[in-house]
Structure formats: C-alpha cells, structure tokens
Symmetry: C2
Subunit: 247 residues, 2 copies
C-alpha cells in the first residue's frame, strides 16, 4: 500500500532501517558475528517486514521460492502434506529462527508455514543473500552453519521418531522447547504452548490422545503441571531421566 503521508513514510523507512542492527535477536539470527559495517549491509538487504496473523500462511507448498524468512516475533509451524491426505508437522519455529530453507533445493517451497500466533517476519531475498555472502565471509559461514544445524536438528527428530517411545518423545519435546525459550530470555520452567495436542502429536508421530495421556502421566508423577496450554516444569531432571534411562 502506497504511503501518502510523509510522516508515516518516515516511520516505515525507519522501521526498515533498524531491521537487523537494532533487533535484539541478532545474536540468534543471521547477523550473528557481523561487524557494525557488515550489519548495516545486511540491513539494506532485509527488505520487508511483514505481519502474519494467527492461522495465516507465510508460504505454501508449491509456491515459488525467492526469499527466506527470519521470525522477528511470534511462533510458526511447518507441515508437509502427502497426496493421500496424510500430513505431518515437520517443525515449530520461534523468534530468531529461519523459515524457508527447504525451498532452495527446487526453487519451490516444499512445505507450508503457518503462524500459530500473530507474528512478524523479515523477508530476506535469497539471491541477494547469496550475493552478500559472497562478499562477507562471516555471513557466508554463519549461513552454512544455520543450514547444517537444521540438518542436525532433523537427525534428532529422526532419532526421536525412530527409537523413542511416547513418553520419551514428549519429554524430549518439552525439554527442547524449554531450552529454546530460555535462550530467548523467557522462563525455562513456565510457558504457554502455542500448538494443539494434535499438532504436537503430528510432530512426534503420535495421536493426540497419546499426547494427552502422556501429559497427564507426567503431571501425576510430579514432573510438570499442565493446565490446557499452560505448562510448568517442576522437575527438569525427572524429565531428563525419562530420556536416558532405557526402560
């Protein structure tokens, strides 16, 4: 939408300008390790900031890929749909994380990205990112690390899906969320789930009833307190023990 009011024009420009350099997620996100001068070059590139309302798609499987997205605030899920109607949640993403890396491969997105709460993202045109990372070694290397980290994360999920039983999967899931919230300055012990039991189940390869029962069991055993989407972790080591003790 064109801006006719010079004041709001100025505001929107300044918002764009402050993109990465003022972002308190820069140590988690793409700008990690860049000098001020390099950072401002990245700022030029992170062209647009966009709000995505809860329930809306950031992109859909099949759309042509031309940008990756950094989450500035909010919470997303990605899911893959099979021809026969089966689908699976492949990940939950929070502020500071990147979305859309899967699209580089075929130049089309291969999954759907859906906001689980009102969110804000920064679009990073991919060819310009490649251009800049040809000039800024640090940026190039960090981007490679981020992609590699995604591969390692996926291996972790494969491990979870391939070898763990229901309660182990849920414990791993909660600990992972807790750790990621901590890294963002939130409480490690208390948080709201942004997704439904069904979405958790889909991600963990379980039915929603199984997820619900596991939550109840954890509560009975004093590991956590659950009230709908509100989770309090009461006994971290109890949860961790569930993971390592082959039962």
């Amino acid at each position: 939408m064109p801006q006719t009011n010079p004041v709001s024009q100025e505001i929107s420009l300044s918002v764009i300008k402050t993109a990465c350099s003022n972002c308190n997620l820069r140590e988690l996100c793409l700008p990690f390790g860049l000098s001020d001068e390099e950072l401002s070059r990245l700022d030029d590139l992170v062209s647009s900031r966009r709000r995505i309302k809860r329930g809306d798609h950031l992109y859909r499987a099949g759309e042509t890929f031309d940008a990756i997205y950094a989450i500035r605030s909010g919470f997303f899920k990605t899911d893959v749909l099979l021809e026969d109607g089966r689908d699976q949640v492949t990940g939950f993403q929070m502020a500071g994380e990147l979305l859309g890396l899967d699209g580089i491969s075929t130049e089309h997105h291969t999954c759907n990205a859906i906001a689980l709460e009102d969110s804000e993202i920064c679009a990073i045109p991919f060819s310009r990112l490649e251009g800049l990372s040809r000039e800024i070694h640090t940026l190039q290397h960090h981007f490679h690390k981020v992609m590699s980290r995604e591969i390692v994360r996926d291996h972790g999920v494969m491990m979870l899906l391939g070898t763990m039983r229901a309660e182990e999967r849920l414990a791993a899931f909660l600990l992972n969320l807790s750790q990621r919230f901590t890294a963002r300055g939130f409480s490690h012990a208390e948080f709201y789930l942004r997704m439904t039991r069904e979405e958790i189940g889909s991600y963990l390869g379980l039915k929603l009833e199984t997820v619900s029962r596991a939550f109840s069991r954890f509560q009975e055993e004093g590991h956590i307190a659950v009230q709908q989407k509100h989770i309090r972790i009461l006994n971290v080591s109890g949860l961790k023990a569930l993971l390592t003790h082959r039962s």
Copy 2:
C-alpha cells in the same frame, strides 16, 4: 607416504588431476553446472582421494570437521549414537552424494559414516570450498541446493517415520533405492542391498524381524523377488499403490 618412484608419482598426480573433470558423476555431484574453467578450479581443491574398506569409518561422531566428502564409488551409511546406547541409521549414501554436511554446524561431526562396501571418496576441504564458492556463483548456488535437498530428504524421512506403517516404509525405501540406482545408470528393477535387515530396520524405525516379514509379504504378493540381499522389483506400481492407498 612419500613417492620415490617418478613413474608412480606421475600416476598419482594424474589421478588427482582428473578428479572432477573426468568423473562420470559430475552431473550428480558438486560440479553440476560448472564451466570447464570453473571445473578445473574445483579440481585443484578436491585434494585427496581415499579408499575406505568395507566396515571402516570415514569419520566418527565427535571428530573435528574440516572437509566434506563426495562418494566416488561405493556405499555408506551414517548413524547417530545416543548416550544410552540407542542408535539409528540416519541415511544410506551412494556414489555422487555428499557426506559430512552435518559437521558444518558445530565444526564437529555429529554422526558416524561407515562404508558398507569397499569405497572411494574425494575429500573437499570445507574452508577452501567456501572460498571458491565466494568466487563461483554457480558453485555457491549449487552447494546451497545440495544442503537444502538434504533438509527436504530429512523431512521425507520424518514423514515416513511419523505417519507410515511398516510395509509402507519398506515400499518407500525400495522405490527410493530403485530411483537412485536408476539415476546412476543401474537397473531400476534389480539390485543388491548393501545393508543388513537390521540396518534397514534402524533406518525405518522397525525391528529386523518386521523388515524380514515385510519382505516376505511383498514376495508372496508378487511385488518383488527377494533372495537374501538380491532384490528384483517385479511390480513397481504395486509398490507405489501400497504408498498412496491409505489402508
């Protein structure tokens, strides 16, 4: 080992020299899309070729990462080990595919790569690859595509582990192998498995007995002929139907 004989010196030099430009896998591997001049610069970088004997490790989890590896010939598996002894095969790799991308993230390998038959690999020092891909746009972009493809592949495995039943998993596995053998000029309908039932099971999140039973069932139903590791696919569409028909 130092070469004192000038003749064998010359041979080993010429072997190195022909690395990528003469490799018949170059359209599947990193050199994809490069001009002759660019190709020869990549050749300079692919420093060493190494033989790995069946059963030997190419690298181990925890070792420091400094190179990725292209498989020139042979067959590998990668697996991840958990503290409590559980392990899982995260992939099977064949000629033309890259190994070690997971190590970029932490500068340490996060899985083991083990040869399932006598194999030959090309080591590609990673920092030099980054250097060259800062200069050769095509190489940079192709490398990004390869990493992204790995992420997409992992999502496929997550889908398989999360939503498919045993026979669907095995059908998907066989069709995937068949397709990859075809891309390498081998028969799509007849091949030898390089891995044991247990390794297949680990990859597919199943026990070896379940894998064995599924093979027997496919044979009874005329989809395939199995004799130990020798597989003949008799009815591709039958296998495909197993995948799409929600039963």
